[in-house]
Symmetry: C2
Subunit: 163 residues, 2 copies
């Protein structure tokens, strides 16, 4: 069965959320998703979208997706296409859908004048890492991602107001 | 000597580029910077800015900067403030300027409805990592940053056109 790839529209918001949940389950963080359909409608399909999304379909069923947006790189001085999520439903794996999504994203990046694509991978996801290496992607060794959120973010923000 | 923090304007483009170069030198990648003043003017101060920048000054001299933009998180369903660069010139360290910049960024993130700030740190930069940990930030252990660029990006993009 062949697949097709198209840009998602606001009618796909529930499908996108279901795929986000399916990916979080695969990433062993099923409780991590706080996003709602309203969040997706507001931030993906409002007047100033914060992300874009490609949907892969097989026989009318959602088979996978990629959600991406643009960042800016101080080193290249150009946009970077940031891949936030790439996921293919287990039933639809082995058909080249993930590769098809990545190729499409690379073409979008080049068309938009980006010099890079970037994303994060879980260390234990060796099949994904092998797949990315085969495409010529590299692990940015020596760079560690950091996060500040929750109460700690609020505390630091309050210190700015007190200063 | 106290310091001040303000939003950068297009008149600061050359100062910003000099700080980007100074940071790259500190990161042991002095040749890595390809960005130009024109890139900064176009992408930071044009009709649709791709980044924003805070400048710290001491006695009329540029002492440090932070360059940031917004991403979107599929898990939180909200914007994330992404800190691309944070740097204080060596002559001005030890005065709390880095902390002042981070507090200001945290306040901006909260005001904009972001649930997170994120950034990347070099593994050998232990002073920076200690500083971030003291603030309550965490290393997202198990997540590896990946990059696809240069010829490899172009090859994958071409495969999309051939498919």
């Amino acid at each position: 069965m062949t697949y097709t790839i198209r840009e998602a529209t606001r009618d796909d918001a529930e499908t996108i959320l279901a795929l986000i949940h399916a990916l979080a389950l695969y990433e062993r963080e099923p409780e991590a998703v706080k996003a709602s359909v309203d969040d997706i409608l507001r931030d993906g399909f409002g007047p100033r979208p914060l992300f874009q999304c490609l949907l892969a379909e097989c026989d009318g069923r959602a088979a996978g997706f990629s959600l991406y947006f643009y960042k800016w790189s101080t080193w290249t001085g150009r946009g970077t296409l940031h891949l936030e999520d790439l996921f293919v439903e287990p039933d639809f794996r082995g058909r080249g859908i993930g590769l098809g999504l990545l190729r499409r994203l690379a073409a979008i990046a080049v068309d938009q004048g980006c010099k890079r694509m970037e994303w994060e991978v879980l260390d234990w996801n060796q099949p994904a890492r092998d797949f990315y290496h085969q495409l010529g992607a590299v692990h940015k060794e020596g760079w560690y991602p950091y996060r500040l959120d929750g109460d700690a973010l609020c505390v630091v923000a309050e210190q700015a107001r007190d200063a």
